[in-house]
Symmetry: C2
Subunit: 470 residues, 2 copies
């Protein structure tokens, strides 16, 4: 599905590209780069998908510059690919038709913090860690944490989530308003800063998750939260995957406002032990984090210990101090690198699905069976409170047979998730890697997406070849 | 702004309407009504806006029937207006160009309850009270509560919220997936049932709040919540509006997961006392509700009492038992009828705005000054945890000067809210009543809405004249 998609798409004429680059150079000077290494770096994300370099990379510093770039491209039908940190996982930044990459990493100012309103406005290149550094002495934080230190523009564009989503929601719930440069160079704001609104179509949510295919995000207003009075973390081992997942289901049903509840399977725990020198039991394991008042956290812990105990959960390890929590979470945060260490020299191929939580154990267990039958190694980690899990194939990308087997397991996993009323991607997005699976998921819904894309980007210049084929 | 808008829109040809009605009658039999009283009732909502009767009312019982009706209309360019309970407030159901009203009140089945997944799928005619009755013995509830016992299809279409939104969000956060009949008769599902997804454009959120202008909602999948172990309610009087609002701001900032926090101004409290025979102090008053575990609620109460005390809040009255809580909330729930009783024979003209909470006190106080200067009576109630407040003018609709003065105060309030980065409507929607104010709020954003409308409803038959002018 991912083999050389670039070949199928027609590139703009060379003189059109040259004209756009000349116009952009006149505006940005040496902040337009056509150096091969820079172009290649910007055409590649962190996935196994084939990269495709743009013809030039424009380092914009303002919305006016983004506008100028878009206009220079629009008048010549030259494609535009927005770029934050390049940490996406489904080929989102590959310039499948060439064109101009707009790198927003220099638009990295926190423009306004509204402590009373619990919101903040940032430029799109601000990363989540940078924002949280900025907020720390104000007692506030922004909870959404995909693994990478991604840009907030990119996280908006891909509807990112991560470990805290079970309590705080995803970018869908946490973006209040956007400034966007449209395909024709117009600038809009999608909403005012009010916490709720019934004012017409939800343009904010339309651009959250649009992956640069409808416009370039140039400003993001986000919700913030007070840093909790108490934070406590724990690890608990389970006799089986079903026991771990049942613990999650009952925790959610009991209304425990758990902040994080993460599953690592026995393969992943083996990797964690060997990589980070832990001595956890190598069985399905849950990592928990509790946020609240001191007594509220104590009560949450009591409830979850009781639920886990009933399901055979054992060996609870607790961490309350920040440095202990960091050490505990290190196992989870380094899961991907730990997994890679299981097979030295391999590459990781990460994919994810999300299903109704009642079907989660079944979906994971059947997928594990497929992995075993395929002869591949593929640890599983999951944001299981949301029914979302990830699988990382540890593969040799130069072995076509391994690639084929991995692709077959992935496709089967996605079709299984769809049959359980789940989605082909909980948080990695579509890019060009899951474009056919999106069709399998939503059918005629995709034709509605195509109508919207056609309406807002009639020339098809905004990140072409992603989400929908035109 | 609301004077006879129907005159500006051209109606379809009489034989087109007759043809559509004949085709629908062949499918629905006597569930198509052209009786004048039925048509008139369906062209009128609960607002002061001019009504406009459709040419016929079709009582659909299935998605297939909705499809048949839409196709019969689409092929003849006959308008379609979906109808739930007719409790909207901005002229949403007025058939401005005539055409066929699709009444979904007979599509009132709860199709599936997912107790493990905390979700439910309903037909659009199920009302929120009906759903909560259905859920009660399962220990689950659906929290969104606009004043009226509205249909869940209508609540979805208008992005409804209400008193619980500060904790549980609005329809935006609580709709998981929709089935929709599009303007050309195709049926789509907007999403699978997974709690989160990064699978392409957020079609669910596009239809939530689209007010019937993009399609007819025929199935709604919603999030549910466990009924809390403990619920406690309280009323507290404040020396000033600013003191009450400051209490709200500090409560939210402190991270108290308050379920309801409602403001009634001194005019509204006077109405409440006289209408429901209470003896509350006639000063700005907050109504609270706390949900959680027994000890969690006790802790929330302690925190809020401390904050309120600092701001001069006094005379706390508590209610823990269900019947006591009902009595306490009666004052809030009957606020509108109580207000009407302040001026016997008057009509109510309700409108709302929503602003960042840091500007809420200022926005309310300046609006109250305008009300005073206008010589009108207009009590204020607010879902103040979200920065949302309502104002009900008590007017004689046959007095053009009163209507003009009320309109002027409303427009000034909206423009003030916009200047504070707020929205022209927190929860009532646009309909045709706020179509110009939406333009004032979002400018070019409205042109994006128009492009979307044009793409999905090129003939302009879906609830024409609402949200955007074509």
């Amino acid at each position: 599905m991912s083999a050389m998609p670039a070949l199928k798409l027609s590139r703009p004429a060379d003189d059109a590209v040259a004209g756009a680059l000349a116009e952009i150079r006149a505006a940005l000077g040496d902040r337009l780069s056509t150096v091969a290494a820079v172009r290649e770096q910007h055409g590649k994300d962190e996935s196994y998908h084939a990269a495709a370099a743009p013809d030039g990379v424009a380092f914009a510093q303002s919305v006016e510059e983004v506008q100028a770039i878009v206009r220079a491209c629009a008048k010549r039908d030259v494609p535009i690919v927005p770029y934050g940190t390049g940490t996406s996982l489904e080929g989102h930044v590959a310039a499948l038709k060439g064109g101009v990459c707009i790198d927003v990493s220099q638009m990295n100012k926190v423009l306004r913090v509204g402590a009373e309103d619990l919101d903040v406005t940032v430029q799109p290149g601000v990363t989540r860690k940078q924002l949280n550094e900025h907020l720390r002495d104000k007692g506030l934080f922004f909870p959404i944490d995909p693994g990478a230190d991604a840009s907030l523009g990119g996280m908006t564009a891909t509807r990112a989530s991560g470990t805290n989503a079970v309590r705080y929601g995803t970018m869908r719930e946490n973006v209040l308003s956007l400034q966007v440069v449209l395909a024709d160079g117009r600038v809009i704001r999608t909403a005012k800063r009010a916490k709720k609104s019934a004012a017409g179509y939800d343009l904010t949510r339309l651009f959250v998750g649009s992956e640069g295919t409808l416009g370039v995000i140039t400003e993001v207003t986000l919700r913030l939260y007070g840093i909790p009075e108490a934070i406590s973390a724990a690890v608990c081992s389970f006799p089986s995957l079903a026991a771990a997942v049942d613990t999650v289901i009952q925790t959610i049903q009991a209304g425990v406002p758990i902040a994080r509840i993460e599953l690592l399977d026995e393969v992943q725990m083996r990797a964690v032990n060997s990589y980070s020198k832990f001595d956890y039991p190598e069985t399905p394991t849950l990592f928990f984090e509790f946020h609240g008042t001191t007594s509220g956290v104590a009560e949450q812990i009591e409830m979850v210990e009781a639920i886990a105990g009933e399901k055979g959960g054992a060996n609870f390890r607790w961490a309350n101090k920040p440095e202990e929590r960091s050490r505990l979470w290190e196992a989870r945060h380094k899961a991907y690198y730990a997994a890679l260490s299981l097979r030295p020299g391999c590459k990781g191929w990460a994919t994810d699905v999300c299903v109704p939580i009642s079907r989660l154990a079944e979906c994971i267990l059947e997928t594990k069976k497929d992995i075993q039958e395929s002869g591949l190694l593929a640890p599983i980690v999951g944001h299981v409170g949301d029914g979302n899990f990830h699988l990382s194939f540890l593969i040799d990308p130069n072995d076509p047979d391994e690639m084929r087997r991995a692709g077959a397991v992935k496709d089967k996993m996605v079709m299984r998730a769809l049959s359980m009323d789940g989605t082909c991607t909980g948080e990695h997005g579509i890019g060009y890697g899951k474009i056919d699976l999106l069709q399998a998921e939503l059918g005629d819904g995709v034709s509605v997406m195509r109508q919207i894309k056609q309406a807002l980007d009639p020339k098809g210049i905004m990140n072409p070849g992603k989400i929908v084929r035109m």
